[in-house]
Symmetry: C2
């Protein structure tokens, strides 16, 4: 069987070229006689891999010199605690809740310290990002936390410049990091689990402005202190070396695609194709407001009841897999990350049209 059209929300599709390179050098990296998995993290081979990955990420995202790049573990879920542990400093933080993930971040932060709900779109079903005028912002907040792409609800922020700038801005970009250019300087901290748009699960990227370091709660585990991790170059202990290597291959691949401007154009074309197919049908429906429709995660429901399992089963026969929506919202979800080729989205929309003709 050939490789298939994988619409998983994460862990997710990786670029085929990247997987082929990983396969070809799995037992013997660049003639050194070892797999990357077998290298001491303190040796020159792995140090080179780590430094190159950081340099490429800095170049791709245009990360200013006064930001640290950390390669950590624990996923966004551990960041939900680690961020308030590091940044609250005895103060209070504001959270905007626009979907399942920012809601989880807000809930976890409540375990750690004082946080406020600055705004929520839950009552209207998480279908948009609120305007600044709707937010109840604390001018003295230690930070304001937002999720710029809600993986489950498919709600994306596009206009970063419009986000509030009164206090340090912290963003969960797990499911759309590297999908388009971002002005990093607008943010105090950006974080992302790798398993959607970066590489394998088990790696978390944190990009943090250096003036925010050094105020971690003294009782926090040392490994969770950004300042200590920055001081040790993400190697206070053994980092997830193979996941970092894979991320580095993805960064090189993104550069070969032409960088994030070109990647964004490609993503826009894929998303346009899918949203147009949904709009043109009577069977499929996406509930998200036009201004916030995610280019990475496209949830849609079938307006005709009882067809979901048939849709999933027939999709699978066409090599279209991991298309089922998150259990909390039902329906379908097509995650079309950077690594999803246009052909994959074309296969999906062709199937959706055929399915609609056959069943409606």
């Amino acid at each position: 069987m050939e490789r298939i059209h994988n619409f998983s929300a994460g862990p997710a599709i990786l670029p085929q070229e990247v997987l082929e390179q990983a396969r070809d050098e799995l037992l013997n990296w660049q003639g050194c006689g070892m797999s990357v998995m077998e290298m001491s993290h303190r040796g020159k081979e792995f140090s080179g891999i780590l430094n190159q990955a950081e340099a490429d990420l800095r170049e791709l995202m245009g990360i200013p010199a006064n930001y640290k790049v950390l390669f950590l573990q624990g996923g966004a879920t551990l960041q939900f605690a680690q961020i308030p542990l590091n940044l609250l400093g005895g103060g209070s933080a504001d959270y905007v809740v626009t979907g399942s993930w920012s809601k989880k971040a807000y809930k976890e932060a409540q375990k750690i310290g004082t946080v406020r709900l600055a705004g929520s779109t839950e009552k209207s079903g998480f279908t948009r990002f609120p305007a600044n005028a709707e937010l109840d912002l604390d001018p003295n907040a230690a930070y304001l936390h937002v999720c710029t792409n809600e993986t489950i609800h498919g709600v994306e922020v596009f206009d970063y410049a419009a986000l509030p700038d009164s206090v340090p801005l912290v963003a969960d970009m797990s499911s759309h990091i590297l999908s388009c250019p971002v002005d990093v300087s607008r943010f105090a901290l950006i974080y992302a689990g790798a398993q959607k748009n970066v590489g394998p699960a088990g790696l978390t990227i944190v990009i943090v402005r250096d003036d925010l370091l050094g105020r971690c709660a003294v009782s926090a585990p040392t490994l969770l202190d950004y300042a200590v991790q920055a001081e040790h170059g993400s190697m206070l202990n053994t980092p997830p070396t193979y996941a970092i290597y894979m991320a580095g291959l993805v960064f090189k691949w993104l550069k070969r695609q032409g960088g994030l401007v070109a990647v964004e154009q490609h993503n826009q074309a894929k998303a346009d194709l899918l949203y147009r197919a949904i709009a043109a049908s009577t069977l499929y429906r996406n509930p998200v407001e036009l201004a916030n429709r995610s280019r990475m995660n496209v949830p849609f429901t079938l307006t005709q009841a009882g067809l979901d399992e048939t849709f999933i089963g027939e999709a699978k026969k066409r090599g279209i897999v991991q298309i089922k929506g998150h259990s909390s919202v039902g329906g379908m979800r097509a995650s079309i990350y950077n690594a999803m080729p246009l052909e994959g989205v074309q296969a999906l929309t062709a199937f959706m049209q055929d399915f609609e003709k056959a069943h409606v």
Copy 2:
């Protein structure tokens, strides 16, 4: 260039068969059309991989049914904090310090709560595990923490039955887990970073008796609560899926070797060969007492000054790499984990003899 003799202390050598299998199915796991790295952790393919890995680990180690097996992140270093967060319950714990790693564990636990030093061999240079009579044990301790194999100092515990049993026993087995049979029921909790004897870095295995769950500090990050992780089958959030898959391949390989009894015999033969070579020489010296000489990590110094760099350079010409000792103790260290074939140790001892003839 062929694959080489890799004596890294971790990340470390993996079985060649395992790497070959990983390579062969890297783009397409068992005909499913996806890489393991691309699978949703909630899908049936990855659930099968995780469940099989746990079942094989339980079989290999004879883990009783009243113990949970957790696949976590953060390495042993995060466990140094996570253990007191979960087990102290407002009480105090005892620590035995027998090398760099147990010292780090003790120091980190002091950040979290009340801990006592029950014994230390630091003054005599970390060359043995203390007898029970030397320990100052608190009969009311929440637990007693030991490191059963000190990776840097090469000090291993062999007689688990002789360890104190008055309070729950917690053991860091990072660098010798799965190297020999262990009576798991002697321990309340066993933990190990994967990157030495299990698989790639970025995975931590915790084996914990279920009556110890449910007393985690309320302010701890949710991800660090063993009870929550156990309840969610290590999938509160996305686990390090590829590292779990690789660990599963290693477990299968260990079963093919005949299980841990056969693996121990193999390890004993390798260690005997190396320790005999050291004992037979005047150039090489291992400072550890006979009763505690590690079968996994063999540190040795050169009695003649100024030869270290020459030794490392000439070793490399013979395909012997990552042999330098940890910077805190100097000299050399040969880590001869499960995956190191006898031929690797033979190549090392042959080189050591040739080097001694040439330079002494």
